[in-house]
Symmetry: C2
Subunit: 331 residues, 2 copies
């Protein structure tokens, strides 16, 4: 029996509980033992949820339970998510997260602490929801020098651009529909101004090149001012406009990170990625182009990615392999 | 210094030597040590190749070298590739292969022997060339019950179907072009009659469901008799014909494996996969659809996948994690 604790019982946290229950037999087979949720840390109570009895408001209950080997942080925001993650590692517990903000802001420190302790800090769910892009880049593409990464990393904006193109809607109209359908927040600025994609491309850049660039150094243009005319004009030229996040190198070897609406030829595999889907195109020196495609959000796909990390840790037992180490970009 | 031996020095074997040289710095960083090729087993001599001096014709040179920890089998065919792989495992050496025929025919035995010895038998390059589909299914999607897998697993036939559609060529004309360009063998039957795709879907089926079904039980229709009229008729209906390989379950729970030309709606992510590219769409119970896309063949992409397996083994050192075990289908 492997015991895990959940920090943050929002949609993804509850999704994780559901995915573990849905796939219990597969999980047991993959891990060699069942996974049991020992604590659910949240400020709220969940009296009607089957796991309501596991709720605690005190993080020390997690820290001081010697049987908990994995802490899953799905709180969102930098604090106290970072502080709790660091404390968990210091207390000898592996940490899994879906929190791209913490990975982008504090990944180097958390990976270094994990290394010091011989533990894992895993974050498959931080980019691309259920798409297994993180493990692909750390493991499957390990032998390749990565040349560049281009991705559609934000499903909300891809949905909006698809609606504009296919239904002739304006950005505002398509955004309103996205909000009605729950694809966009009431305050949609992190999506439509490109910050969400910028955080994710910083993580992919660190995976590709070993350096974490601060998000504020990414050159970001969102889709807030995208006009329907631009979309339709691109279509007339046989192209499609996508909000592309890019990580590569400039000619002088310095980092080249940007997020901006980009015209793609229809022959690009990214051009046919529609609606709320995400896709990441990785170019390796020997490998050429490989693309990963799937639901970039949604509680169950994202929780599936979290669960894959948990299983990886449980399955490896005391054989945890070495992992990424990132340096910070020079100031 | 991690020492490996190469069995079979054809295009992929030579590609592996090239990829290791091209990415030496990345490999050293990923492994914590450089990788050195200790032997090249082949019936031929390669006097003009930089590694020509490593050529041996005697497999015992590999078996009896205690410093060789990984044997990379890229010989093709079932024998002696299977026999050498089994002997290497029995001698305490990890085995990596690109040989789909051996994995499809003898995967259960080789995985069992590897388990017995605490070694790894890895085969990322056996399906989809450089696309990291095997590791995705064994690791990233580990927590999900797989519902079905649909793939474009043969680049030659996808190239032919793309040529027919885009240039109005007949199957025979497009095949001739594929042969001129080196995309198809002089004897193209394994490709156009679907055997190559059938072997690969057997491997993906084993990964998804844990059972290796014999290739001759796959219901296979190739594209040998595909008429241009059928292709154009599908286009008129807004559809595209692709040679799809499918692994799933019938309503009674029995295996459902087939390879056949299939009409796809243009909205399917598989519909826009053109030319020699491959793609695999995996449907997970909680995850939904994820798709993996890339060059399905080519010596450098395929060698990149082989190298990722080698790095995985070297990096884990004495911490090799547990791996797949497959049973054979009941007779």
């Amino acid at each position: 029996m492997a015991k895990i604790s959940i920090l943050g019982f929002g949609t993804i946290g509850q999704g994780l509980a559901e995915v573990i229950a849905q796939n219990a037999e597969v999980v047991r087979r993959q891990c060699g033992e069942p996974i049991e949720i020992a604590h659910v840390l949240d400020l709220r109570e969940f009296p009607d949820h089957p796991l309501g009895g596991l709720v605690t408001h005190d993080f020390n209950d997690v820290l001081n339970d010697p049987e908990v080997s994995v802490v899953v942080e799905m709180m969102g925001g930098s604090h106290p998510a970072y502080d709790f993650s660091l404390a968990a590692l210091k207390a000898g517990k592996n940490v899994v997260t879906s929190n791209k903000e913490v990975v982008a802001n504090f990944g180097p420190e958390l990976l270094a602490e994990a290394k010091k302790k011989g533990l894992r800090y895993l974050f498959e769910a931080s980019v691309g929801g259920g798409i297994p892009i993180i493990r692909a880049m750390t493991s499957s593409l390990a032998g390749n020098e990565i040349v560049e990464v281009n991705g559609i990393l934000n499903g909300t904006t891809n949905y909006i651009l698809t609606e504009m193109k296919e239904k002739g809607r304006t950005m505002q109209e398509a955004l309103a529909t996205a909000q009605e359908l729950g694809y966009a927040e009431r305050d949609p600025s992190a999506d439509i101004d490109g910050l969400d994609a910028a955080r994710k491309i910083c993580i992919l850049n660190a995976l590709a090149f070993g350096v974490m660039i601060p998000v504020d150094r990414v050159d970001v243009t969102g889709i807030r001012d995208m006009s329907l005319d631009e979309i339709l004009d691109a279509e007339k030229s046989g192209q499609t406009v996508k909000l592309i996040a890019h990580a590569g190198k400039k000619a002088d070897g310095s980092p080249d990170l940007w997020v901006r609406p980009t015209r793609l030829d229809k022959s690009s595999p990214l051009a046919s990625v529609s609606g709320v889907f995400n896709a990441i195109l990785v170019r390796g020196r020997s490998l050429g182009d490989v693309m990963f495609y799937g639901a970039g959000a949604g509680s169950l796909p994202t929780a599936s990615a979290v669960l894959a990390d948990v299983i990886d840790i449980v399955r490896c037992g005391d054989k945890q392999p070495a992992q990424q180490q990132w340096r910070r970009a020079d100031a």
